[in-house]
């Protein structure tokens, strides 16, 4: 069964910087096409990594899947139903922490399960906080946590809802090298465990090759799908020791405009 479909999707923004200077469309400004005719299908349980140059609209694509934004033409379907708004069965993990800073880790995780009756609710919250190893930090506020802990707390909050889809926008950005690797490992383990459809936007080619069941490369603006490959390799995987992945890595670097890779 196919879970998420993106059909003939186009998205354009209006450049308001030039608005109001002559011409009959002056009040609207110039239209800029960001995503041009995107057709994609994400199978249930797939871990898909989306790569592309910065500003190509990959985050915008995610936001439309999440229901935060809408296509100019075309549509996004989840289980054959058009996405009409944000819903709690597809949880978005924000690029810079989406935790509410005035709530503790516990209260943040509680958000997604707040309607559940109590013995079960407390148990669920405890379980997911323990899963990301934040047991001793459940009553800390986000500003008291490190970058990696913030990502893990947000992951716990997302998973506690038991969503069908996880949508992650640059989940490792701003982390130091080691934390980046650890959180990445955590996301991979989490995916092995729950097997939910997971879309990850990243700018790091190695992230995509290490994590993805499938890698999608998008071109610069107006953005189209340039490459869409499945990676039938088990995890954890060593990119350096897999010649096919190394070849793919070179190919993607070249696609993104880097021709000489050390």
């Amino acid at each position: 069964m196919s879970c998420i479909q993106v059909k003939n999707l186009k998205k354009s923004f209006i450049d308001r910087r030039r608005a109001g200077r002559g011409g009959e469309r002056a009040s609207l400004g110039n239209e800029i096409l960001v995503l041009d005719n995107i057709n994609l299908e994400f199978a249930e349980g797939e871990l898909v990594c989306i790569l592309g140059p910065s500003g190509c609209g990959k985050s915008t694509l995610l936001r439309m899947v999440a229901g935060f934004d809408f296509p100019t033409t075309g549509e996004v379907l989840i289980n054959d139903e058009p996405v009409t708004g944000s819903r709690s069965d597809s949880i978005f993990v924000f690029q810079h922490s989406g935790l509410l800073p005035w709530m503790t880790v516990w209260e943040n995780v509680e958000l997604g399960v707040r309607h559940i009756q109590d013995p079960e609710k407390t148990q669920t919250i405890q379980e997911y906080i323990a899963m990301v190893e934040l047991d001793r930090f459940e009553h800390h506020y986000p500003h008291q946590l490190s970058g990696g802990m913030l990502r893990r707390a947000e992951l716990a909050r997302a998973l506690a809802v038991n969503p069908n889809t996880l949508i992650m926008d640059e989940p490792f950005s701003g982390l130091d090298f080691l934390t980046h690797m650890k959180v990445r490992e955590e996301v991979v383990n989490m995916h092995e465990f729950i097997q939910k459809t997971t879309l990850v936007v990243t700018h790091d080619i190695d992230d995509a090759l290490i994590m993805g069941d499938r890698v999608i490369v998008m071109s610069g603006r107006p953005s189209q799908v340039k490459l869409d490959v499945k990676l039938p390799y088990g995890r954890p995987r060593d990119v350096l020791k897999t010649p096919e992945l190394m070849a793919l890595r070179d190919e993607i670097f070249f696609m993104l405009g880097v021709s000489y890779v050390v």
């Binding site: 924000f94 509410l100 005035w102 506020y141």
Partner: protein, 253 residues
């Protein structure tokens, strides 16, 4: 380290009082025009002993608390509405921006005509002085809430009430506390002026009454008390910001 923080300001205070006394002694001015620090402190003791100071301080604080609380209770919700509802902003913002720069003191004649003599006109002036800053800061705070938080709310199916209680209100608290600090200072400035015209009590009245009696030492006592109370009010408002769930506001900006 800790004792320096408490002791050093008092060293400054001591030398200021000393300098003040010396200046009055050698300035050649009459003691009635420029009383020295010793005389003023003695008069302060007098006014404390006969209860005048306490009575007038309580009167001023009473007016400020009523006027300021009214302004907060009405101003914060209105600010939230202006920040959240586009139509409300378009309708009322121009009016508020027009009224805001009119000094509360310009309202004195109307306040006296409408509310007579006594507490009501003074409270009205304090209300006016505090209301606009509270409305404007609150609406600015609401507008500057990160869109991410509203997306989180949508993602977790928050109701409108939940958006208000779990996102909007906690998100603006740090800025509202700052606004409270600024506004209580304004209210405290205005109460002195308001009490010089419409009432028979309060620190402003004490200053006016002392001036009429040519008691500059009493004027200075009132000024000193106004300063001390101002410090205390600021301290109280500032300590609101130490509540743990508002600490993020200090650290993320």
């Amino acid at each position: 380290m800790g004792y320096k923080k408490t002791v050093l300001p008092f060293i400054t205070l001591f030398f200021i009082l000393l300098l003040w006394e010396l200046v009055t002694r050698f300035s050649g001015w009459s003691r009635n025009v420029f009383p020295g620090s010793i005389a003023v402190l003695t008069s302060m003791g007098e006014l404390i002993a006969n209860g005048t100071l306490l009575k007038n301080t309580v009167a001023s604080l009473f007016r400020v608390s009523i006027g300021f609380s009214l302004a907060v209770v009405l101003g914060v919700p209105l600010g939230i509405i202006l920040g959240r509802v586009e139509i409300a902003k378009l309708l009322f913002n121009p009016l508020i921006q027009f009224l805001r720069p009119i000094s509360p003191l310009a309202w004195i004649p109307l306040a006296m005509l409408w509310f007579g003599i006594g507490d009501p006109p003074a409270i009205f002036l304090i209300f006016l002085a505090s209301f606009f800053p509270m409305v404007v800061s609150t609406s600015v705070a609401v507008e500057s809430i990160k869109p991410t938080y509203f997306q989180v709310a949508a993602n977790f199916n928050f109701t409108r009430i939940e958006v208000l209680t779990k996102i909007v209100i906690p998100a603006i608290i740090p800025q509202v506390i700052t606004a409270l600090r600024m506004t209580i200072a304004i209210a405290w400035l205005v109460v002195v002026a308001a009490e010089m015209i419409a009432v028979q009590s309060g620190l402003g009245y004490l200053i006016l009454d002392a001036r009429n009696a040519l008691r500059m030492d009493y004027v200075m006592v009132a000024m000193i008390v106004i300063g001390i109370i101002g410090l205390l009010l600021d301290f109280i408002m500032r300590s609101l910001g130490n509540i743990e769930s508002t600490a993020w506001g200090r650290l993320t900006k």
